[in-house]
C-alpha cells in the first residue's frame, strides 16, 4: 500500500524542493496577510511616528528592481541597441513580477485594503502618490502587454488556444510604442517615488530635491542588475535557461560605470548636504553615519552596494568571471534595497518638535513585527515562484530567442519617373 503511494509521489528533485521551500514562505505569508486583513494594522509595529516601515521598503524595492524593464526596453527599441533584445525580454518579465509584488504589498499596507479602488475614483492631481498610483497602474498594463508574447510561449496555452497565442505574440509588433509609453510612465513614477519623500517639509532629512534623481538612478542600476543576476543564476541551475554571456558581460560593464555616477550622487547628496547644522537633517545624517542605520549604510549601501561591485564590474578579469560578476550584481541589488530601507527610516525616525523657540529633535524607533516579516517574505516568495515558473514554462531566460522583427517604417520606392 505504502509502496504504491510512494510510487505515485513524484520523485524528489531540486525543483520540487525549491517549490516546497517557497511554499512554506508563501503559506506563512498568506496566513500573515489574512491576519492583517482581519485584525488590521495593529498587528504591525508601525506607529503614528513611523507609519511606513518594512512593507514600504519591500514595495519601493520591488518597483526599483523592476526598472530593468523600462530601461532595457528603451535601450533596445528606442536607442536601437537591438542585440540586447533577449535580455530586455527577461527584464520585462522581471518587471511584471516586481510591480505585482509592489501592488500586493501595498494592498496589505493601506489601512482599508478593500477600498483600494478609491485611489482610481477620487483624484487629487496635486498629490505625488496620485501620480505614482496612476503611473504604476498604467505601466503595469504596459508590462502586461509587453509580456503577452512571453506568456504566449506557454506550451499548454499554445496547444489549447493556438489562435489566441498567435494574437498574443503579435503584440510584439507594437514593442517600440510600448517602450515609449514605458519610458514615459517609468521616468515619471520612479523619480516621483523619491519626490514623495522629497516634498515633505515636516521631515527635514527627506526634504530635498535630489531624492528624485537618486531614486531614478538607483532604480535603473538595481533593476538591470536584478535582471542580469536572475538570468545568470537561472542558467546555472536549470537547462531551461540559456544565456548569452557576452551580452550580459557588456551590460555589466555599463552597470560598473553607472555605479560610479551613482556613487558620486549618493556621496554628494548624503555627506556634503549637511555641512552646517540644521535641526532634523543633521540628526538624520547621524542616524545613517553613526546611529542604528550605520552598518546598513556603510556596509550594505556604500561598501557592498556600490564600491565593491563597482571595482568587480570595471575590472575586466573579475567581470569576465561569472562568479564574481554574479556576486557583484547581487551586491548591487542588495545595495538598492538597503538604500530604500535607509531612506525611509532615516527620515521617519527623526522627529522635530513644534514647540515655539529652539526646535528640539527626538528619535522614534521601529523594528518590524513577526507578522510584517512573514507577510513581507511571503510577497518575496511569490516573486521568486513567479520567476521560477517563468523560467521553466515560458522560457523567460532564453537569450538565444529573438522575437520576430518588430514593425518598421516601410518605405516604398517611388515610381520611376518616365519622361
Amino acid at each position: 500500500m505504502i509502496a504504491k503511494l510512494k510510487a505515485r509521489l513524484p520523485k524528489p528533485t531540486l525543483w520540487l524542493a525549491w517549490l516546497a521551500f517557497l511554499g512554506l514562505f508563501l503559506f506563512t505569508g498568506v496566513t500573515a496577510g489574512v491576519l492583517v486583513l482581519w485584525k488590521g494594522l495593529s498587528v504591525t509595529n508601525l506607529t503614528d511616528y513611523v507609519p511606513w516601515g518594512l512593507w514600504i521598503t519591500i514595495d519601493l524595492s520591488s518597483i526599483a528592481l523592476a526598472a530593468g524593464a523600462f530601461s532595457l526596453c528603451a535601450a533596445v527599441y528606442l536607442i536601437g541597441l537591438k542585440r540586447y533584445q533577449p535580455i530586455a525580454r527577461t527584464a520585462t518579465f522581471v518587471g511584471l513580477i516586481g510591480y505585482s509584488m509592489a501592488m500586493l504589498c501595498l494592498f496589505i499596507d493601506i489601512g482599508r485594503p478593500f477600498k483600494f479602488y478609491q485611489a482610481l475614483i477620487y483624484w487629487n492631481t496635486h498629490s505625488l502618490l496620485w501620480e505614482v498610483t496612476m503611473c504604476v497602474i498604467l505601466y503595469f498594463t504596459v508590462l502586461l502587454l509587453e509580456s503577452m508574447p512571453i506568456i504566449a510561449n506557454w506550451e499548454w496555452l499554445r496547444n489549447r488556444f493556438p489562435k489566441l497565442t498567435a494574437k498574443m505574440s503579435h503584440v510584439h509588433h507594437y514593442a517600440p510604442y510600448l517602450a515609449i509609453a514605458g519610458l514615459f510612465l517609468s521616468s515619471l513614477h520612479q523619480s516621483s517615488l523619491g519626490a514623495t519623500y522629497g516634498v515633505l517639509k515636516a521631515r527635514p532629512f527627506w526634504y530635498k530635491p535630489e531624492m528624485s534623481v537618486l531614486f531614478m538612478l538607483s532604480a535603473i542600476i538595481g533593476g538591470i542588475s536584478m535582471t542580469l543576476f536572475a538570468s545568470m543564476l537561472a542558467s546555472r541551475l536549470t537547462s531551461k535557461a540559456k544565456i548569452n554571456d557576452a551580452l550580459i558581460e557588456r551590460v555589466s560593464h555599463f552597470i560598473g560605470w553607472a555605479l560610479v555616477g551613482y556613487f558620486y550622487w549618493r556621496f554628494w547628496d548624503t555627506l556634503s548636504m549637511t555641512y552646517t547644522y540644521e535641526p532634523g537633517r543633521t540628526e538624520g545624517l547621524h542616524l545613517i553615519t553613526t546611529g542604528p542605520l550605520a552598518f546598513n549604510f556603510w556596509i550594505g549601501e556604500v561598501l557592498l552596494g556600490i564600491v565593491v561591485p563597482m571595482i568587480l564590474l570595471l575590472n575586466r578579469k573579475t567581470r569576465l568571471n561569472p562568479f564574481w560578476r554574479m556576486a557583484a550584481l547581487l551586491m548591487v541589488v542588495g545595495g538598492v534595497v538597503a538604500f530604500r530601507w535607509d531612506i525611509n527610516l532615516s527620515g521617519a525616525l527623526v522627529l522635530v518638535s513644534y514647540l515655539p523657540g529652539q526646535p528640539t529633535v527626538s528619535y522614534a524607533s521601529y523594528t518590524p513585527s513577526l507578522v510584517e516579516w512573514a507577510a513581507g517574505l511571503g510577497v518575496i516568495a511569490y516573486g521568486l515562484l513567479a520567476f521560477s515558473l517563468g523560467v521553466r514554462y515560458l522560457r523567460v531566460v532564453d537569450h538565444r530567442l529573438t522575437d520576430e522583427e518588430h514593425e518598421t517604417v516601410k518605405v516604398t520606392a517611388t515610381e520611376p519617373v518616365t519622361v
Binding site: 488590521g40 503614528d48 489601512g111 475614483i121 492631481t125 514623495t196 513644534y354 523657540g357
Partner: protein
C-alpha cells in the same frame, strides 16, 4: 496613402495638445485649490493664551466626548513647554488648520480638503489609509486608527455627548474645530466664538478661558482683537503652512500679576 498618414499624425498632435491643455488646466485649478481653496465669508481661527493655560486637560476630555474619540487618541494634546518665571507652561495642540496644509496637498484621494471657512476636513469615506498625510503633518496632529474603537467612551457622559460618527479602523483622524457645532450653531443663528453651542467643545470647557475662537475676517471678534493687539506666534511658521491656531506666549510678568 501619404495623405492619410499626415492626417493621422495631425490628429494625434491635436489630441496630444488637447489632452495636455485639459490636464494642465485641471492641475492648475487643483494647485489653486491646494493653496487655500475658495474662501467663504468666515475664516475660523483660534488663539490660545499660554499664560492662562494650567494644563488641566479638560479640553482633551471634552474633545474626546464630543467627537467620540478613543482614549488611545488625542485630537488635542497638552504638552509641557518649559518654565517661565518659575511657572510650568503648557502648549495645547489641536489641528492647526493650516492655510497651506501639507496633509491636503499630499492626500492622493483628496480625503483631506479645505472647507470654505478654512477648516481642514477629513472625508473618512474617501480615505484609503495610506498615511501619507500623517507623515506630512509637521505638528503630528493626526492619529491613525490602528484598531477599531469599539468600547464605550469613558469620557461620555461626564464630558459631553458624541456629536459625530466614530471613525472606522484604518483611517487617520484629527481635530475638526468641532465643525458640527459650528454648522449646527450657525444654522440656528448662533455666532461661533460667542455662543457656546456654536463653539468648539475645547473652547467652551476651558476653565481659565485660555482659548478664544473666532472669525479671522471679523475685526470685531474677540479673536481678531487679541491677535491685533498682542504678540502672538504660530507653530513652525517658517514652513509656510500658515496655521490658523495662534499662541500668546507666556511672559514672566503674567505670573507676577497673578500672584500679587
Amino acid at each position: 496613402m501619404t495623405d492619410n498618414k499626415l492626417h493621422r499624425r495631425d490628429f494625434l498632435k491635436i489630441a496630444a495638445v488637447g489632452v495636455a491643455t485639459v490636464a494642465g488646466a485641471r492641475a492648475m485649478s487643483r494647485a489653486e485649490a491646494s493653496s487655500g481653496g475658495e474662501k467663504g465669508p468666515h475664516q475660523w481661527a483660534m488663539v490660545i493664551d499660554q499664560a492662562k493655560c494650567n494644563g488641566c486637560g479638560y479640553c482633551t476630555l471634552a474633545c474626546r466626548a464630543h467627537n467620540d474619540v478613543s482614549p488611545d487618541i488625542s485630537w488635542n494634546v497638552i504638552l509641557p513647554a518649559g518654565e517661565v518665571g518659575g511657572h510650568q507652561v503648557f502648549l495645547p495642540r489641536p489641528c492647526m488648520h493650516c492655510e497651506h496644509a501639507p496633509c491636503v496637498e499630499v492626500c492622493m484621494v483628496g480625503a483631506s480638503y479645505y472647507r470654505p471657512d478654512g477648516i481642514v476636513m477629513m472625508d473618512y469615506d474617501k480615505c484609503i489609509g495610506c498615511r501619507y498625510c500623517e507623515v506630512a503633518c509637521p505638528y503630528q496632529a493626526r492619529s491613525f486608527n490602528w484598531e477599531a474603537f469599539e468600547d464605550t467612551n469613558p469620557a461620555v457622559p461626564e464630558w459631553g455627548q458624541p456629536e459625530v460618527d466614530r471613525r472606522p479602523r484604518g483611517v487617520p483622524e484629527k481635530c475638526s474645530f468641532c465643525y458640527q457645532r459650528i454648522d449646527r450653531g450657525m444654522s440656528m443663528g448662533l455666532k461661533p466664538g460667542v455662543d457656546p453651542d456654536a463653539t468648539p467643545a475645547c473652547v467652551v470647557v476651558c476653565p481659565t478661558g485660555a482659548r478664544i475662537f473666532g472669525d479671522l475676517n471679523d475685526p470685531e471678534s474677540e479673536f481678531s482683537k487679541i491677535i491685533h493687539s498682542q504678540y502672538t506666534v504660530r507653530l513652525r511658521d517658517e514652513l509656510g503652512t500658515a496655521p490658523r491656531v495662534y499662541y500668546v506666549p507666556a511672559e514672566a510678568e503674567d505670573f507676577e500679576e497673578a500672584t500679587s
